[in-house]
């Protein structure tokens, strides 16, 4: 009997130990799955899978970067000279164009002669660049040269200034505008929220009586509990029109609207964390200051705030973390234009909003899908750094002053 009981005790302890590890395991799994999918993008070719670019064999150009390919097909680059080639206008040729040049019968049974006809076109035009499916490609034919297809590089992704995941033939996965958009929206949000939040924190910890304090804290808890999609809805129907009217804009869905909304959403974090820090100021410090003849206000801004500065910094960092990761509210009010944000009063798009808006349309396992997972990795790393920073800051031994 005793043995069984001891065994049960051991068993339960084992189970508890295992469940103690559950958060660690979850984080590990998140890391594994996010990075496995995300890293796949660097093994994907810059142009659409199953396609190749072909030029005339006499063309000296060997490879073209992802961005240049996009520029060529958008007719932004129209001369080979710009790619260190011959001084001749670029002739863009797409697969469908072949059907304008030849009649259906000329391709023979099952389009057997199609590769040959394509080769003919390429041989006859020195200035051509043809975007063709591998299936019908004029492989190894005289006078035709295949442009070397590179994989998407680290630089294409982190240094690229254009995010056009569905552009053909070369989708652009430049993450800079998204990163800048995220940082812009979050930083402005904190600049708005910080003075407001700090003021309320001082009021809560130093001035309010117990009853007011209780109700105000409960209010702040409720504010933190409102779902982000409700904030987004509120922003869409209330803040967007207000911003549009006040600043005389064509559209009210701007980076600033997002910042305004995020500021409201970050308030609870900033208030509770910094109020905690202020409450923890040693009584001796306060009383010492008052005994020296300082007023209550002088004590607050000369003693209480400096002594709780690490907690306040942690509050700011955590607030930024909350703002950077926020998805739905930002998605609904910032207008979602994946461009380099020129001013605060134009639409932008943040990293989380991009994932939420595009993942539904990206086929699983494709390049676009992988790019969105890589965005998730970036977001994950940023929030990890922020959470660890906040932990380190608030752990710093408080200056007891004694």
């Amino acid at each position: 009997m005793k043995k069984i009981r001891r065994f049960i005790g051991r068993f339960v302890e084992g189970m508890l130990t295992i469940s103690g590890m559950v958060t660690t395991v979850t984080i590990l799994l998140i890391v594994i799955f996010l990075f496995k999918e995300g890293a796949g993008i660097f093994k994907s070719p810059v142009i659409e899978d199953g396609y190749h670019l072909y030029v005339n064999a006499e063309n000296p150009v060997k490879s073209i970067s992802s961005y240049d390919i996009k520029q060529i097909f958008d007719v932004e680059i129209d001369n080979w000279k710009e790619l260190n080639g011959i001084n001749e206008e670029i002739m863009v040729f797409r697969f469908d164009d072949i059907f304008n040049l030849y009649a259906e019968e000329e391709f023979g049974e099952n389009y057997k002669l199609l590769p040959q006809k394509l080769a003919e076109v390429i041989q006859n035009n020195k200035n051509i660049v043809a975007y063709l499916p591998k299936q019908y490609a004029p492989k190894n034919m005289v006078g035709v040269k295949e442009i070397e297809t590179k994989n998407i590089s680290f630089f294409d992704f982190f240094g690229g200034k254009e995010w056009m995941p569905t552009s053909k033939p070369a989708a652009q996965f430049g993450v800079l505008p998204l990163i800048l958009g995220t940082i812009l929206v979050s930083l402005v949000a904190i600049l708005i929220a910080l003075p407001l939040g700090l003021g309320v924190a001082i009021y809560l910890s130093e001035l309010a009586n117990e009853k007011i304090r209780h109700y105000l804290k409960f209010t702040i808890e409720l504010l933190a509990g409102i779902p982000s999609v409700v904030y987004g809805f509120f922003g869409l129907v209330v803040l967007v029109p207000i911003v549009q009217r006040v600043f005389h804009l064509d559209v009210g869905e701007t980076a600033f609207t997002g910042s305004l909304l995020l500021a409201i959403m970050a308030l609870p974090t900033i208030i509770t964390v910094s109020e905690d820090a202020m409450k923890n100021t040693p009584k001796a410090l306060r009383e010492g200051s008052l005994a020296l003849g300082a007023t209550k206000w002088q004590t607050i801004y000369r003693v209480v705030i400096p002594s709780s500065i690490s907690g306040i910094s942690a509050a700011v960092v955590l607030g930024i973390g909350r703002a950077i990761g926020e998805t739905m509210a930002v998605l609904m009010v910032t207008g979602n234009a994946a461009i380099m944000p020129p001013t605060l009063f134009q639409p932008v798009r943040t990293i989380p909003a991009t994932i939420a808006a595009e993942l539904g349309e990206a086929p699983a396992g494709g390049t676009h899908y992988q790019a969105l997972f890589l965005l998730g990795c970036i977001l994950f790393l940023i929030t990890m750094v922020i959470s660890i920073t906040a932990e380190l800051i608030s752990k710093k031994p408080q200056n007891s002053g004694l």
């Binding site: 009981r5 049960i8 005790g9 302890e13 189970m15 508890l16 130990t17 103690g20 559950v22 958060t23 979850t26 799994l29 998140i30 799955f33 996010l34 496995k36 003021g199 309320v200 009021y203 309010a208 105000l216 409960f218 209010t219 409720l222 504010l223 509990g225 409102i226 779902p227 982000s228 999609v229 409700v230 987004g232 809805f233 509120f234 129907v237 209330v238 007023t295 209550k296 206000w297 973390g321 950077i324 990761g325 998805t327 739905m328 609904m332 994932i355 939420a356 993942l359 539904g360 699983a364 969105l372 997972f373 998730g376 994950f380 929030t383 990890m384 922020i386 959470s387 660890i388 932990e391």
Partner: protein
């Protein structure tokens, strides 16, 4: 300027800031209640959307959200409580506990959209659950795990050590002490954690976007492998992709009100239970 006057000005502005924060809350709540209350009636709560979501109610979304709440709690509650019992009662004070704490707070700081990505990669694609209540519940369950763990830890911490030592002195084992003494006393507080988690889960949108949420699905889910509508996603759809704004906007207000009501009731309930418990603990 006189230092007394400076103080007066400073304090006055802090009072105003406090009032502003309260005003913001009441602005948001008031706006949604004022616009949504007229829409809510029995019919709205118990019928499916009709006419391309320009008429009818939100019943399937309410049922879907209830399923997700129940599913995620079945996963998160036992796991979270057991994890907290381990760190509080068993693990001592070594580096393992510190490590687990850091991991838990890190998990809490991961944005919800990352959970959505993760849930899609693991549950929907890898384990082949498809877009389903099961995949959504697992994702949401992992999301609220840190909240359950933290509130349970707080609840266990609040039990005075004398109760434990008293139990040991009577010859009870560690397991018996936890089961018969610590847990029954901590239960109401652990329960408030559960309630807060329910509020959190019912409002999350980003994690369910790609793991469970259906754009429009008038029939109710019949198994855990079905897709389902959910209140927060329904609100998002109504607010952003409605083709007939005049008709969908009132429904959106109604949906937002139901969503806020759930969260408010959960928070008030938790506060109420906590207050009663504190009174009881004081009388001990």
């Amino acid at each position: 300027m006189n230092k007394k006057t400076t103080q007066k000005i400073a304090f006055l502005s802090f009072r105003i800031l406090g009032i502003i924060v309260i005003a913001i809350l009441f602005w948001i709540l008031g706006f949604i209640i004022y616009n949504g209350i007229g829409v809510i009636n029995w019919n709205f709560l118990t019928t499916a959307p009709t006419d391309g979501m320009t008429a009818g109610g939100i019943f399937p979304a309410i049922v879907g959200t209830l399923c997700l709440v129940a599913g995620s709690m079945i996963i998160a509650f036992p796991l979270g409580v057991m994890s907290a019992i381990y760190t509080q009662e068993y693990a001592g004070k070594g580096w393992i506990v510190r490590f687990i704490r850091v991991m838990t707070s890190n998990l809490a700081s991961i944005p919800s959209i990352v959970f959505g990505l993760f849930g899609m990669a693991l549950f929907v694609n890898k384990l082949k659950f498809g877009d389903s209540i099961l995949a959504g519940s697992l994702t949401l369950g992992l999301l609220v795990l840190p909240l359950v763990i933290r509130t349970t830890e707080e609840a266990l911490k609040a039990i005075p050590n004398s109760f434990r030592t008293g139990s040991y002195a009577l010859g009870a084992s560690k397991l018996q002490t936890i089961r018969k003494v610590v847990l029954p006393m901590a239960m109401p507080n652990i329960f408030t954690g559960l309630i807060l988690s329910v509020g959190r889960v019912s409002g999350e949108t980003a994690p369910i976007l790609f793991t469970v949420a259906a754009y429009f699905l008038p029939k109710l889910p019949t198994s855990i492998f079905d897709q389902a509508m959910a209140l927060p996603y329904h609100l998002y759809v109504l607010a952003t992709s409605g083709t007939n704004i005049d008709k969908t906007l009132p429904i959106a207000y109604g949906t937002a009100l139901v969503l806020i009501a759930i969260v408010l009731i959960m928070n008030l309930l938790a506060a109420f239970i906590r207050k009663r418990l504190n009174k009881k603990l004081k009388s001990h």
